[in-house]
């Protein structure tokens, strides 16, 4: 079981996390933007998260915290 | 008091060590190489650092690094090498770092020659790099004065957090004169809480920086620096006056040229011409008040330089062009003789009075 927390304001929507997620449970926000105008990453199925932290390791903005 | 017969360059290096200079970064260039050679010999013995850099650019940036840690640091070079250091000096000034830079001037432009010159006056006092900034420039005219001014250069650099320069020339660097060093020199300590020397988890991180992207903030930072410059201009300008009280013609000369000029003043006096000399010891700040006061009763001034005429602009400004300011100079490494200068004095004052 894992859990990620995304700092929506830090996220620049680059998508590197989405690309490496083994469970494919991450996507960019579709109807919301952060204050800087970026779509930000959301986890749409946290129950599937295994807490591997791959997303966080690829995040250039250190916008993801991971619990396991 | 310890009295030694020493070469100018070596005396200067020894004085720097006694003033607490812990790091020296240099690059060989005539006619200042003895400074590096002396530092190479002495620094390892006192636990200091001597490093021969890969270039003058490397050396001045090593100075930037050591100065950032709050360490007393010096570099030396000669004219073409100072041009290479210009970038680093601008960054050092923009980062408010203290250091001492020696320029033992030689003839220019380009590779020029290796004989004494004062053709870097403009560079030293007006444009030692890009941007709005100054360095304090000292102009010694004896080996003893080189020694005395080095300590002052380190102190003022620390007090005002800015680079200071000793503007010497090949003549002073190479000549041997007796010098006296104080037996036990106390080294003044100044606040270095701004230094990037590792915060030991005891304070917020320090940043040494010259990049300010907001125009308003950059302007404010430069204006604050210029408030410091105003204080320096008021308090640190230095000059010596010689026989100026009754002088009808006031000569202005600095460095090695002042020695020759003083002889010319003596020759003129022997001929009944009331000549005097103002010798600036700081070139920035320029001792304008000294010159104005000393020439109040004179009818003209004569600026003597080993250049085509650079300091003369500041002399004219000092007296607001209220009197004729004549010029005599030799350049390219040629040293003016007292008789040449005497002839000039005679021409200006209408010949010998006896």
């Amino acid at each position: 079981m894992g859990r990620i927390t995304v700092d929506e304001q830090r996220c620049k929507g680059c998508g590197l996390c989405i690309n490496v997620c083994p469970k494919k449970i991450l996507k960019l926000s579709e109807d919301k933007l952060n204050d800087k105008g970026y779509s930000f990453m959301v986890c749409f199925n946290m129950d599937e998260c295994i807490g591997c932290a791959g997303c966080a390791m690829m995040c250039p903005d250190i916008a993801i915290e991971v619990e396991r | 008091m310890e009295r030694n017969l020493m070469k100018g360059n070596e005396a200067l290096a020894e004085a720097a060590i006694r003033a607490g200079c812990k790091c020296f970064f240099g690059y060989p260039i005539t006619p200042q190489t003895e400074i590096s050679a002396y530092m190479a010999k002495r620094m390892p013995k006192i636990g200091g650092v001597f490093l021969q850099a890969e270039s003058e650019i490397g050396a001045i940036n090593m100075v930037l690094g050591a100065a950032s840690t709050g360490t007393r640091v010096m570099t030396s070079s000669s004219s073409p090498g100072i041009s290479l250091k210009a970038e680093g000096i601008s960054y050092i000034a923009g980062s408010d770092l203290p250091c001492v830079i020696i320029n033992v001037q030689r003839g220019g432009p380009g590779l020029g020659g290796i004989q004494p010159s004062q053709a870097d006056y403009w560079q030293a006092t007006k444009a030692l790099g890009h941007g709005d900034f100054h360095v304090i420039v000292f102009a010694p005219s004896t080996v003893q004065e080189m020694v005395d001014l080095v300590t002052k250069a380190f102190d003022l650099a620390d007090i005002y957090r800015m680079p200071t320069m000793i503007l010497a020339d090949g003549l002073l660097g190479q000549m041997m004169e007796p010098v006296t060093f104080p037996d036990q020199q106390s080294i003044n300590e100044y606040d270095k809480s701004w230094a990037a020397d590792g915060h030991k988890n005891k304070r917020k991180h320090n940043i040494i920086n010259s990049l300010i992207l907001s125009p308003e903030d950059l302007e404010k930072s430069v204006q604050e620096r210029f408030e410091r410059y105003d204080k320096i201009a008021k308090e640190e300008a230095m000059a010596q006056c010689y026989l100026t009280d009754d002088a009808d013609i006031v000569l202005v000369a600095y460095g090695a040229t002042a020695r020759v000029t003083q002889s010319a003043v003596d020759l003129a006096r022997e001929k009944g011409i009331k000549a005097g000399l103002v010798r600036p010891q700081t070139l920035w700040p320029f001792p304008a008040d000294h010159i104005r006061t000393a020439s109040e009763n004179a009818s003209s001034l004569l600026c003597v330089e080993m250049s085509m005429g650079q300091m003369i602009d500041d002399v004219k400004l000092a007296i607001n062009c209220s009197k004729p300011v004549h010029f005599y100079g030799r350049t390219g490494g040629v040293i003016p003789t007292p008789t040449e200068i005497l002839t000039e004095i005679e021409n200006i004052s209408g010949g010998a009075k006896e």
């Binding site: 929507g13 690829m58 619990e67 | 930037l64 690094g65 950032s68 980062s95 990037a196």
Partner: protein, 254 residues
């Protein structure tokens, strides 16, 4: 509280040495990953109070705001000389530079080579992304043959613009170099390797072994004109063949 919440613990958080501020880097730029790896190495070696970073001109010029250790901003290309001055004045501090390819391998080649050959006990983190990022994507000394940049609009023609410099290989020939490794941050495995390399370089420095350099193959999505994910692929397919990953010098292994 559910059982899950009781038993979970944080396995990934921002390192202490990295300032808690947003960076100015473009979306997907890998500078941020490398910053984190440096900060983690500093945390793990517990040397934040002794570390002094030097960042010269380029996209990373404002890195002084991103690390919590003392920081110095250096003139373009001069970071190895500045770091030399710092280290000689304060030999017990941990001194690192963070330099791009234009900075390190063009304008600062002299400073880099001589710091290396002196065996200056500093660590250089060298970001190779084949371009001048901050000025808008001009040809760098590491731009690949045929690569289109703002100043090689028809592709880098090696007849007129010469060949890329392989920095790690070049520096590995110098006796003063204690450690030189080329790493990449294009995938999780390589990010972990990069972290190990950076930490090793810092460890060598604490052991006073000499000059260490970690070259990091990185991306510049904005100036490459590719999205961040495609940029990683481009790095793997184009940069890695020309700049093979690996340890080029390890004084301890010899």
């Amino acid at each position: 509280m559910s059982n899950t919440e009781k038993t979970t613990k944080k396995v990934f958080t921002r390192p202490n040495a990295l300032a808690d501020v947003p960076t100015h880097y473009c979306p997907g730029c890998t500078h941020g990953i490398v910053h984190r790896l440096i900060a983690e190495a500093i945390d793990e070696l517990d040397c934040l109070g002794d570390a002094i970073g030097v960042c010269p001109v380029g996209c990373s010029v404002m890195a002084y705001d991103y690390f919590n250790c003392d920081m110095i901003q250096a003139p373009h290309g001069r970071a190895p000389a500045v770091a030399t001055g710092v280290k000689r004045a304060k030999p017990d501090n941990i001194v690192f530079t963070y330099q791009g390819d234009g900075d390190l391998a063009a304008i600062g080649t002299g400073e880099t080579v001589h710091a290396a050959t002196r065996g200056e006990n500093i660590t250089i983190i060298f970001i190779n992304n084949t371009t001048y990022g901050m000025t808008g994507g001009q040809m760098a000394p590491t731009t690949l043959p045929g690569q289109v940049t703002q100043t090689t609009p028809y592709g880098r023609d090696t007849d007129t613009a010469g060949f890329p410099i392989r920095v790690s290989e070049m520096l590995a020939t110098l006796d003063g170099v204690a450690y030189a490794e080329r790493v990449s941050v294009d995938n999780i495995k390589n990010v972990n390797r990069a972290k190990k390399a950076i930490k090793k370089a810092f460890e060598y420095q604490t052991q006073k072994k000499g000059f260490t350099i970690i070259e990091v193959l990185s991306t510049c999505p904005t100036n490459w004109g590719l999205d961040p994910v495609k940029s990683l692929k481009w790095l793997e397919e184009n940069m890695m063949p020309y700049y093979p990953l690996g340890v080029y010098k390890d004084k301890e292994a010899q």
